[in-house]
């Protein structure tokens, strides 16, 4: 984390399933150290796009590069909609999963510190089943942060939570992810406006990108911030206009 994080450059990316074009000629950039929120209706290919960037899927054509031209592989942490905590392992072990899987030495102090940062101090030895959905997602956030990757990809990580829990974990995420290059997929305009430096809408079939919108001010922005409300309204209109009947 001493070197500045790279941006992500997506160039002429295309994805096809069978004969169907999911998207093609996709071009955008996640600026270094910023959070870009990608919005769009479900089924538009947002998750596939994220998986391609994460190296979990291959595109039909096009490229994903880091702006410092070093490979992106190994510098990306991934957070999904489900918490993906291993049910047989306690929170501490779950947070350190990456180290276990890479046969690295585990840093228990750092894992415990991360757990306390996400408000789970004292629950280090608890099993995931003993926690609420919000607590589990916070543990997943701690696990993502433990990876110390400069780039973080998030696929609707908070969508399964109730609105108050979601607002709290959004604040936490904005605070703890500051300085990293983050691509956040969401279908919640409010979430995008509160957390994103930049907003981008993906919609249609084949999917196209709208114009990138820059939101000023530091995230997390308050839910009643006039700027947030204004941008959210505009976003909703855009999404509605682009959505099929």
């Amino acid at each position: 984390m001493n070197t500045p994080p790279p941006g992500i450059l997506v160039r002429n990316l295309a994805l096809r399933f069978g004969g169907d074009v999911v998207f093609e000629n996709l071009n955008f950039e996640v600026p270094a150290g910023r959070l870009l929120a990608l919005l769009g209706p479900s089924g538009v290919g947002k998750t596939s796009l994220l998986r391609i960037i994460a190296g979990l899927e291959t595109a039909a054509s096009g490229s994903v590069m880091a702006s410092d031209s070093a490979p992106l592989h190994g510098r990306v942490a991934y957070m999904a909609q489900q918490d993906l905590l291993l049910p047989w392992a306690n929170l501490l072990s779950n947070v350190m999963l990456g180290a276990t899987l890479r046969h690295e030495k585990k840093d228990i102090d750092r894992a415990a510190h991360l757990l306390s940062q996400v408000g789970l101090a004292g629950r280090e030895r608890a099993l995931p089943a003993a926690l609420s959905g919000g607590m589990r997602q916070r543990a997943a956030l701690a696990r993502t942060l433990y990876e110390q990757r400069p780039v973080v990809l998030m696929d609707e990580p908070f969508s399964a939570l109730d609105s108050i829990t979601r607002a709290r974990i959004q604040n936490l995420a904005a605070e703890l992810l500051a300085g990293r290059t983050v691509l956040l997929i969401t279908h919640d305009p409010m979430e995008a406006c509160r957390l994103g430096h930049h907003l981008l809408v993906l919609s249609g079939q084949p999917a196209r990108l709208g114009n990138a919108v820059e939101v000023h001010g530091q995230p997390p922005r308050a839910a009643d911030d006039p700027l947030v409300l204004h941008t959210q309204g505009k976003l909703l209109n855009t999404l509605e206009a682009m959505a099929p009947e």
Partner: protein, 254 residues
């Protein structure tokens, strides 16, 4: 309540049994009344105890080796597609031939001792273990595997830390089936040729028309089988502490 209902069932069963022997003309060598079985149980307790030990060790050794063999084959099958192509036909063939048909051959090769029965039990057991465990190993949540990939995990680490623990409930199902089936292998082996064991007692008693003794051996076999199953079941529940169990929760919810 936990012991009450089974107790009532057993008492009703015993009463019906007694009623049939008391009020019908079925001769005692066909169906002995429960009390003569009880008398046989007590009178022959030394023989029965000694022979139970033989059968129990056959079952336990069969379970141990059958589970080991089954688990190893499952991991091998899942870890290597090439091995799967080579092993699968053998596994299926081994199950297509009834163990009953193999029993005389095994006794011929391995003798009247305990070895032929243990092998028989292993043959009965390992397939359900392999099938269940391999299934569990294949069904790891793909999202976990994706997460492991973004963490740069190698195949060994994923197997050791994600696939294996995630498949433990499936292995447990296989083990439960295996535990229920293990006595079959042991008893068949003893019927075909043995110098001790409950199956051996039953064959001898049958030849001498000591039907009460046959029933006594049967009772002990049933108690052994049920007891072993319960023991394994409880141990597995303890070991799989993270698996939600909807059946044991019935006491918590009204």
């Amino acid at each position: 309540m936990r012991f009450f209902r089974p107790l009532v069932s057993i008492l009703v069963f015993l009463a019906a049994w007694w009623g049939i022997t008391r009020f019908t003309a079925i001769p005692g060598f066909m169906l002995p009344p429960p009390q003569s079985v009880a008398i046989a149980l007590w009178a022959q307790r030394g023989t029965l105890f000694y022979n139970s030990l033989t059968t129990l060790s056959e079952i336990l050794l069969g379970l141990l080796f059958g589970t080991l063999l089954g688990a190893v084959s499952a991991v091998a099958i899942v870890a290597s597609p090439a091995l799967q192509r080579w092993l699968m036909p053998i596994l299926v063939l081994s199950q297509a031939i009834p163990v009953f048909a193999l029993a005389p051959l095994l006794v011929l090769w391995l003798g009247f001792g305990i070895a032929s029965k243990v092998v028989m039990a292993v043959l009965v057991i390992f397939f359900p273990v392999t099938a269940n465990f391999a299934d569990g190993l294949r069904r790891t949540d793909p999202a976990w595997l994706d997460l492991a990939r973004t963490m740069n995990a190698d195949g060994f680490a994923v197997m050791r830390h994600v696939r294996l623990p995630a498949a433990m409930p499936a292995l447990a199902s296989g083990l439960r089936v295996a535990t229920a089936m293990a006595p079959i292998g042991a008893i068949i082996g003893e019927w075909v040729g043995a110098s001790s064991g409950l199956g051996f007692v039953m064959i001898n008693a049958n030849a001498r028309i000591q039907t009460s003794l046959m029933f006594a051996a049967l009772v002990i076999l049933a108690v052994l089988a049920v007891g072993l199953y319960k023991l394994v079941d409880v141990a597995l529940r303890r070991a799989l502490y993270w698996v939600p169990d909807s059946l044991t929760d019935e006491t918590k919810t009204p």
